[in-house]
């Protein structure tokens, strides 16, 4: 009975810990590494930091043509 109680307690604590991890820290929106909360840096000389030039129909005047 005590072993079962310990096991259930461990499961509950483990789940609580996991839910804490999921929302509290590494899965928090501010920890999202693939989507940014501020704009990406502009590359003014080479356009290497852009996926595609003129993707929205406007060209980069100083970047490589």
């Amino acid at each position: 009975m005590i072993r079962l109680l310990v096991l259930v307690t461990a499961l509950v604590v483990g789940c609580a810990s996991m839910s804490d991890v999921e929302r509290g820290y590494v899965n928090h929106p501010a920890m999202e590494l693939k989507n940014r909360l501020t704009p990406a840096s502009q590359s003014v000389l080479t356009n290497l930091n852009a996926v595609s030039q003129s993707s929205a129909g406007v060209a980069c005047a100083t970047c490589a043509h």
Binding site: V26, L37, S41, L48, A61, H65
Partner: protein, 341 residues
């Protein structure tokens, strides 16, 4: 037949749509830049401006695994900064050539299939109206999660075809040559995201992109680290490097490019679901011209701000950036609203 179709829809639609949610998203974006001449780039002093307004409709959790989205973007481009040169070397602004353009339209369709451990995306983007930069693009991605998603492996591929106005340039051997009018761009990326501890995770991404017939293939690597300092303060750091393959032949008057970048960002959550972010980024770009053995280096500082707030069915987003470089400075502002119903 019509009754049969109606019956199928009545029977099947509730099964598919059980638990699904719909989102309507709209955003407004404005960009501008003030540029100075670059000695190696044959460019003129110019101002690039762009405004765009996007309307997106998304259905999530369709049949428990699918999400679909479609959007229309209304663009108001300013082509007065884009210089077109004819064979004789005369320069004209693109805005002075052809009919006057006030608005352009772009459409996007997006399908996501996701289960607990993996997800796949297909996105198709295309110009819907006439444009001097008419484009079609397809994006494919797949992500697999391991160990309760503490490890993520992903691959992304995109292919874009885009036209550009006919223009000529003078090569290093003083010959007048035409630039390509259709540019095909392919890009592939592999990434690995790992939760390191309860408060830290890391993303490593490698990329390779080529604008066929225009630029040598480039290879890049980027590492982004996130750390939760407290329950209210989150840090992100990024370092990356991109370089063009110097074994490949050059196609125009420009040399080989490379780029090193770094960024630090801090996000503060004073109350639940309100995120305030500030960031600083440094970009160092280089161009090496082997035919004249010259090297040009330009540094750019960028300061960014971000605001995101969710309230009930609504989410508000506002971001802004201002950058300062030796050859250009400018900024961008983006505002977005999402309504989930």
């Amino acid at each position: 037949m019509r009754n049969l179709c109606s019956l199928i829809i009545i029977l099947v639609w509730p099964q598919l749509s059980w638990g699904f949610s719909q989102q309507f998203y709209t955003q407004y974006q404005m960009q501008s830049a003030l540029s100075q001449p670059v000695t190696t780039a044959n460019t003129s002093s110019s101002q690039v401006k762009r405004t765009e307004h996007t309307y997106e409709y998304r259905i999530q959790n369709l049949g428990d695994i699918a999400s679909i989205a479609s959007s229309v973007t209304v663009l108001q481009p300013d082509y007065s900064s884009y210089i077109v040169r004819d064979r004789q070397g005369n320069e004209r602004r693109l805005s002075e050539i052809g009919k006057k353009r006030t608005q352009e339209y772009q459409g996007m369709a997006h399908l996501t299939l996701a289960t607990s451990s993996h997800s796949a995306n297909l996105r198709v983007t295309s110009s819907l109206s006439d444009s001097p930069f008419k484009m079609q693009k397809i994006d494919l991605s797949f992500e697999e999660g391991f160990f309760n998603k503490s490890t993520l492996l992903g691959v992304e591929y995109s292919y874009q075809q885009q036209v550009q106005p006919l223009s000529y340039f003078i090569d290093r051997d003083l010959a007048t040559k035409a630039r390509a009018v259709t540019i095909n761009t392919s890009s592939i990326a592999l990434y690995y995201e790992q939760i390191i501890s309860k408060k830290m995770k890391n993303l490593v991404k490698t990329t390779s992109t080529q604008r066929l017939g225009e630029r040598p293939r480039n290879f890049g690597i980027e590492d982004r680290l996130g750390y939760a300092l407290t329950r209210h303060i989150y840090l992100q750091g990024m370092a990356g490097y991109i370089s063009e393959d110097e074994q490949s032949a050059l196609h125009d008057e420009r040399g080989y490019f490379n780029l090193a970048k770094g960024e630090l960002a801090v996000t503060y959550e004073p109350i639940y679901d309100l995120l305030l972010s500030v960031s600083y980024g440094l970009l160092i770009e280089s161009e090496y011209e082997p035919r004249t053995d010259t090297k040009t280096k330009v540094g750019t500082d960028q300061y960014g701000l971000g605001f995101q707030y969710s309230y009930g069915d609504w989410r508000f987003q506002l971001t802004g950036a201002y950058y300062v470089a030796q050859i250009a400075n400018g900024g961008s502002v983006l505002g977005g609203i999402t309504w989930t119903f």
